[in-house]
């Protein structure tokens, strides 16, 4: 009897106080994050000091990268470059402001892609939960979808998009980028949501069935709440992959305005101005962290369902 109660109402019998712990750790996690970035910077400088300028060689094969100022500029040079104007053209913005506006563009495109991907992923997971046949049929395709090289896909999506005109609506280049971002983001969400939907123990499912609850009711009242601990990490992962997808798609399709394009543009001056491309690469990495961080805000509103988060 007690066993059944535990299974049926875990949040009552296992009142793990997620929220207070959560609150106290938010500050700490930010602190740890900042420390990690500083540590990376220190590590970068350490490598520059320890490894010879020409890199490490084992016989003919190069095993460690070059560490001269051209290949690995000093962290302070990169920071200093960020504060300088992009080019000497009059009215040229600083690298920092160019990167901020580029990151803002990419973030919006990535979030649009993440929204589309997450909704698509949830629907797909629901479909696969509903019909066992759909699951067996679709899972291989879902996995296969992630092995298609993005750079092969990107020009195709742009090609298809270029021919879409519905009334006054015209497909924009950023929509192709968002679509490619969603293509990466949907995968973790689908897999996470499917596991989450299937996570309620048999006893709980049977209780719903015994009470003649419809599939919709079971979904809304049992499976969806039970999936939260699985869904949140999946959504976070999805956000990070959406940013990666957006950046790669921007590079691939040459979409103007985002950080991916900026990396390539800056890379063209890598030999004369080596700090510039590194600044953009660092900005892209930070952007992924910001996106994942934004999405984890979702978790704050869902505390009561997070009794056993899969981290």
């Amino acid at each position: 009897m007690t066993d059944l109660a535990t299974t049926l109402a875990p949040e009552r019998t296992a009142p793990v106080p997620v929220r207070p712990r959560e609150r106290s750790t938010v500050g700490r996690r930010i602190l740890v994050g900042v420390l990690a970035v500083l540590l990376l910077a220190a590590l970068w400088e350490l490598v520059k000091v320890v490894v010879p300028d020409g890199g490490g060689h084992l016989g003919e094969a190069s095993v460690l990268p070059r560490t001269d100022d051209l290949a690995m500029p000093h962290v302070w040079d990169i920071v200093d470059r960020v504060l300088q104007p992009e080019t000497s053209a009059t009215g040229s913005p600083t690298v920092l402001s160019a990167m901020l506006s580029a990151c803002w563009f990419t973030l919006r495109v990535a979030l649009a892609g993440w929204l589309v991907g997450s909704i698509g992923g949830l629907l797909l997971a629901a479909l696969m939960q509903r019909w066992q046949l759909a699951e067996s049929a679709l899972v291989p395709w879902v996995v296969l979808s992630q092995t298609v090289p993005l750079i092969a896909l990107a020009p195709l999506v742009v090609g298809w998009g270029g021919r879409i005109h519905v009334g006054t609506f015209e497909w924009q280049r950023w929509m192709s980028v968002a679509l490619i971002a969603s293509y990466l983001a949907f995968f973790p969400v689908t897999i996470g949501a499917l596991r989450g939907f299937q996570s309620p123990p048999a006893a709980q499912v049977e209780l719903f069935r015994a009470q003649a609850a419809s599939w919709n009711r079971t979904m809304l009242s049992l499976r969806l709440p039970a999936s939260v601990p699985y869904l949140l990490p999946a959504l976070r992962l999805g956000a990070a992959t959406a940013v990666v997808g957006a950046i790669v798609a921007e590079v691939s399709t040459g979409t103007k305005g985002g950080i991916g394009r900026l990396i390539i543009s800056y890379a063209q001056s890598a030999s004369g101005d080596p700090a510039k491309p590194w600044a953009a690469i660092a900005a892209a990495a930070l952007l992924g962290l910001v996106a994942a961080g934004l999405v984890s805000l979702l978790g704050l509103g869902l505390g009561r369902y997070r009794y056993a988060e899969v981290r």
Partner: protein, 384 residues
């Protein structure tokens, strides 16, 4: 507790609203060219570039800026390229009306079924160099023997391979081939003896880099370059390609082609006579490359175009034949040639560019640039 949850949802809501608002406001701002006022009467034309906005395409941007396209009744929108955008494929599948592409690459796409035709050969010369430090003593293709030779691959390597073959070297055994990156760092670090470089881009990057021994920028004296135009294995590069099928059947497209070529040529003539203004036009289009780099590029591009004795855009039969010959006979390190059979007669035509040139000559425009003199450009550190 409640407050906390509300704040969290509030933050999420605000973020979502921003995303939606941002995206919807983008639709206007992201269009690459603002549509012209009277676009109802203008014929919309899309031009696909091979790469991002830079002075390599100064003529087209100048033609928009100076209103040359509008004068011809065209509303031209320039579509930038990306690392994986193949202009000739985009053209063949009908997404754009014209594309800029190198001749050998376009011929390879043609052989795979892309129905495209070279209607104007803008660059009369090849801008590809093989650059070395002066102390390596590499000034001809024959000097490459036993050296580490960089190339970009992806069809950019054939002039180099043809040059080596012509000099009696076997590219597979007589040199060490290295795949080259975007930048010139591997060359500057000494990993590559002779690196591929475009006169208007990578070569300038070298002159924008600091020589660690002197603390000053490198100068042209520090390098030697093999010019494939001199070695006789140059291949034709930037050309305007049109859709062959529409060219054969669509009369309006034929007329548009003449107008498009005419206005584009005018743009290039503007860039010849006003290199600094042309640079400013390109910079204003949002190129992240520096001012001095863009001016250098404009000037080097001008050198590739001018003088054009038969008139800018004319496809020179000898240069075309040489390009086809190299494309047919030169094997790269994988043993592949660019094309396997002679391209058919549809591959290029001077019909449209001749009409455009005739109209320009009637207007008294100098279309051959016989007295063209390049300007002197001083590159700044990092191209700024």
């Amino acid at each position: 507790m409640r407050l906390n949850r509300l704040t969290a949802w509030g933050a999420v809501g605000v973020a979502a609203a921003l995303v939606l608002a941002g995206c919807s406001s983008d639709s206007g701002g992201e269009a690459e060219e603002e549509p012209s006022m009277s676009s109802e009467v203008l014929i919309p034309v899309k031009l696909q570039l091979q790469w991002f906005t830079q002075a390599q395409f100064a003529g087209y941007y100048a033609a928009i800026d100076q209103g040359y396209y509008v004068d011809e009744g065209l509303d031209v929108q320039i579509v930038e390229g990306g690392t994986d955008i193949v202009p000739q494929s985009v053209l063949a599948d009908g997404s754009v009306d014209y594309a800029i592409a190198w001749v050998p690459k376009a011929l390879a796409s043609r052989e795979q079924g892309a129905g495209i035709t070279d209607v104007a050969q803008i660059f009369q010369r090849s801008g590809t160099l093989q650059v070395s430090f002066a102390d390596k003593g590499i000034s001809t293709a024959a000097d490459l023997e036993g050296k580490t030779v960089g190339n970009w691959g992806y069809g950019n390597e054939f002039e180099l391979f043809a040059g080596m073959t012509k000099a009696g070297l076997d590219p597979a055994t007589d040199v060490t081939l290295v795949q080259q990156q975007f930048d010139m760092n591997a060359f500057l670090a000494g990993d590559i003896d002779a690196a591929q470089a475009m006169t208007y881009n990578e070569y300038a990057q070298l002159l924008e880099a600091e020589n660690p021994e002197t603390g000053e920028l490198y100068t042209a004296d520090d390098f030697t370059a093999i010019d494939w135009n001199d070695e006789g294995t140059a291949m034709l590069q930037d050309a305007i390609w049109a859709n062959s099928e529409k060219l054969a059947s669509d009369e309006e497209y034929q007329e548009t082609t003449v107008k498009f070529i005419k206005a584009s040529l005018k743009g290039w003539i503007y860039a010849r006579d006003n290199p600094e203004e042309a640079r400013d036009i390109v910079v204003a289009q949002g190129s992240q490359l520096g001012n001095s780099h863009q001016l250098w590029q404009t000037n080097e591009i001008n050198k590739l175009i001018w003088p054009s004795p038969d008139g800018i855009g004319m496809i020179d039969e000898d240069a075309w034949a040489q390009t086809v010959d190299v494309a047919l006979t030169t094997k790269n390190d994988q043993g592949a040639t660019v094309i396997t059979t002679e391209p058919d007669a549809e591959a290029y035509t001077n019909e449209y560019v001749e009409q455009a040139l005739a109209e320009l000559r009637d207007e008294g425009v100098d279309v051959s640039g016989e007295d063209f003199e390049p300007i002197e450009v001083t590159l700044e550190a990092g191209g700024n």
